[in-house]
């Protein structure tokens, strides 16, 4: 079968010593970032983009992918041991994981989190391999009108799944779209809103904006919290990693459900790992015979979200690799990484760059295996890392980010812009605007404009082309339906409930 031939080819690529090393570095760095609170996945991937410039494209993307799913692992470790979620994706893991640790069952909690993640990773890897080819064929049938409608759908998904006000999320997307307009017009080459600043002629780099809005803004906000950031570490002694037979029996269905839910939410644009872990936790609580156990050390409360976030982290590569549309901000940065290496993401990539696509897919499985082997013995080291006080960590992150941005284009202006966007991001946080839809809008902006213009050019200015073409009409109808659902009061209440859960 073609599938196995492809996977075999992928493993051949991924098992080269260089790529194995890249995978290992990525997974380790990802875990490190996942462990350290105050620096998220998006900022890290943005920060490490320049590091991958000198690497061959396959190695670079393998490493970046490793950072992404490695962070999901690392985040769970600190959630369980010290009740500090290193990543937004493991916030819910802390609810039950930390309770388990308090009861002296940190070992089984960590083991189940790792096993669940690994299982989810395996399933997601196969899913990418299976869905890749058919989706690519579908994508080839897409014209500009369909692409435009698909991106509208993706943005609506981002709105529905974003936290808080629907109106504010849409506003953030439009703000992002507007920011993406800065720079040269694709068709006429006219300079738009660039104010004759040469560095803006190519547009605002989204690595710059991402680093500002997610990196610098996060640092500034953490400084606000001041001495609350002091982490009183409970020194937990981890005795016995092995889960009991009952633990395994309890968590197996939770892992399966978490994996399915995570895989679906990962593929959907706008979803991603954060929402997957929330949703999985809520689902388990709903299904449980005795929901009051949750929050008091129920092992399902660790197994389900951890499987879900890892599955989602990996399946979010599917829309990127097949349609060329990034479903979330991290994938948007991956587009950046691919573009820098001269690869245009989209349906052609699977055919033109089989090494890259299948090598990356295979490396994800290898990376997951590495993580499960490396991380359990290293737990002690990760916990000790948490002792590094924030007063020393934040200037280091500032410097590292600054050097990173500077090295992208050797442009000091980029560093200043990132600083400005840091302040903008801080302001957005203060006014309860979510920065993630902004970045998604910014990345999809040029693609949307291009396809909109092309679709209208082909239809000779007839806007009905988006409804008269069946595929496009279906996509728009789904988008409209989703938006309606999100605004309807009944569903709104439910949606808010999910988020309230995560904050308690």
């Amino acid at each position: 079968m073609e599938l196995f031939a492809n996977l075999a080819h992928g493993f051949a690529v991924a098992f080269s010593p260089m790529n194995l090393l890249m995978c290992l570095i990525g997974a380790l760095v990802g875990t490190l970032v996942g462990v350290l609170p105050g620096i998220g996945t998006i900022a890290t991937v943005a920060m490490l983009l320049p590091i991958t410039f000198g690497l061959p494209p396959v190695g670079a993307l393998i490493m970046l992918a490793g950072i992404y799913y490695g962070a999901q692992y690392g985040g769970s470790t600190t959630s369980i041991l010290v009740n500090i979620p290193g990543e937004a994706t493991s916030v819910v893991t802390a609810l039950d994981g930390f309770q388990m640790a308090k009861q002296g069952r940190a070992g089984p909690a960590l083991a189940i989190a790792a096993i669940g993640s690994f299982f989810a990773g395996c399933v997601a890897t196969v899913l990418i391999a299976v869905l890749g080819a058919p989706l690519t064929k579908l994508a080839l049938a897409f014209g500009p009108a369909e692409y435009f409608s698909l991106m509208v759908l993706g943005l609506i998904f981002a709105v529905v799944l974003a936290k808080g006000s629907v109106l504010k999320a849409i506003a953030m997307i439009v703000f992002g779209l507007l920011l993406s307009m800065v720079g040269s017009d694709i068709e006429t080459g006219a300079s738009r809103m660039a104010f004759n600043i040469p560095e803006l002629a190519d547009g605002l780099g989204f690595a710059t904006v991402a680093m500002g809005v997610f990196g610098f803004a996060e640092i500034i906000r953490n400084l606000d919290a001041g001495s609350e950031m002091n982490r009183d570490l409970v020194q937990q002694k981890i005795t016995g990693l092995m889960p009991t037979r009952k633990d395994i029996a309890d968590s197996t269905p939770a892992i399966l459900r978490g994996t399915v839910l995570g895989s679906i939410l990962g593929i959907l644009p706008g979803g991603g790992a954060v929402i997957a872990s929330f949703a999985a936790y809520t689902l388990e609580k709903k299904l449980a015979k005795n929901p009051s156990r949750f929050g008091r050390g129920a092992i399902e409360g660790v197994a389900a979200p951890e499987s879900a976030n890892n599955a989602a982290a990996q399946t979010s590569f599917i829309p990127l690799l097949t349609l060329g549309i990034p479903p979330n901000a991290v994938m948007a940065l991956m587009v950046g990484a691919m573009t820098i290496h001269g690869i245009v993401p989209g349906p052609q990539v699977m055919q033109k760059q089989p090494d890259l696509v299948w090598g990356m897919i295979a490396s994800m499985w290898i990376g997951n295996l590495m993580l499960i082997i490396i991380n359990l013995p290293l737990v002690g080291i990760w916990v000790r890392l948490l002792r590094v006080p924030y007063r020393l960590m934040f200037p280091s992150i500032v410097i590292f980010c600054s050097i990173g941005i500077y090295s992208v284009n050797n442009a000091p202006v980029d560093v200043i812009l990132a600083g400005v966007f840091g302040l903008v991001g801080y302001w957005l946080i203060k006014h309860d605007f979510e920065p993630a839809p902004l970045l998604l809008g910014m990345v999809l902006g040029p693609l949307m404009e291009e396809n909109l213009r092309r679709a209208l050019l082909i239809s000779r200015g007839d806007w009905s082309v988006f409804i008269s073409r069946p595929l496009s009409a279906v996509l728009l109808a789904i988008a409209g339906g989703l938006l309606l659902l999100a605004v309807l009061p009944a569903l709104r209440a439910k949606r808010d409930e999910v988020f309230v859960e995560s904050e308690s």
């Binding site: 590091i51 439009v174 006014h431 902006g445």
Partner: protein, 166 residues
């Protein structure tokens, strides 16, 4: 903390009929951004026939943002909402200053000087900073970056101040 402006002070600027200041101010600011974008893209060509000009899409999105900003501001008037969150000046100010210093210093002064100084400027942003500790860590970090970026990663970057090399 002395560096957090009191909420009452901020609130008093806004009239009483603003019931959700956070949304109201947020919406107004987005409207301002949209108006600015409209002005900035006003010199660009619009639609000609049925094909888009360079300015069509930016103006389209700007108008959309204007409407959305207005809607958000309106919810701030109609609905009870949270007050404006307290800002502190110290963290944002010194972190921004550190970034600005780095951007201006990297070309003429090189990586070593600018990274180390920026580290110390950023450290001013927290009142918990202990100086001896910060200087040691800053020096180690500078050394690490000076080895990592130009040598290990091969990214070209000036290392030392220009006047020392010449």
């Amino acid at each position: 903390m002395s560096d957090t402006p009191s909420q009452a002070q901020v609130k008093s600027i806004l009239p009483k009929w603003v019931r959700g200041p956070q949304d109201f101010v947020g919406g107004i600011a987005l409207m301002a951004i949209a108006v600015f974008a409209l002005w900035a893209s006003s010199d660009l060509q619009g639609m000609h026939g049925f094909s888009f000009g360079a300015g069509t899409a930016p103006r389209m999105f700007a108008v959309l943002l204007l409407l959305l900003g207005a809607a958000i501001a309106l919810t701030g008037i109609l609905n009870e909402g949270p007050p404006i969150a307290a800002y502190s000046w110290r963290g944002p100010f010194f972190v921004a200053l550190s970034i600005l210093f780095f951007a201006l210093a990297i070309r003429p002064l090189g990586l070593v000087v600018s990274a180390f100084s920026s580290f110390l400027i950023a450290a001013l942003g927290s009142h918990e900073t202990k100086w001896l500790e910060a200087i040691i860590v800053g020096a180690c970090l500078t050394l690490g970056c000076a080895l990592l970026f130009p040598y290990v990663l091969g990214l070209p970057m000036p290392m030392f101040p220009r006047f020392l090399i010449q």
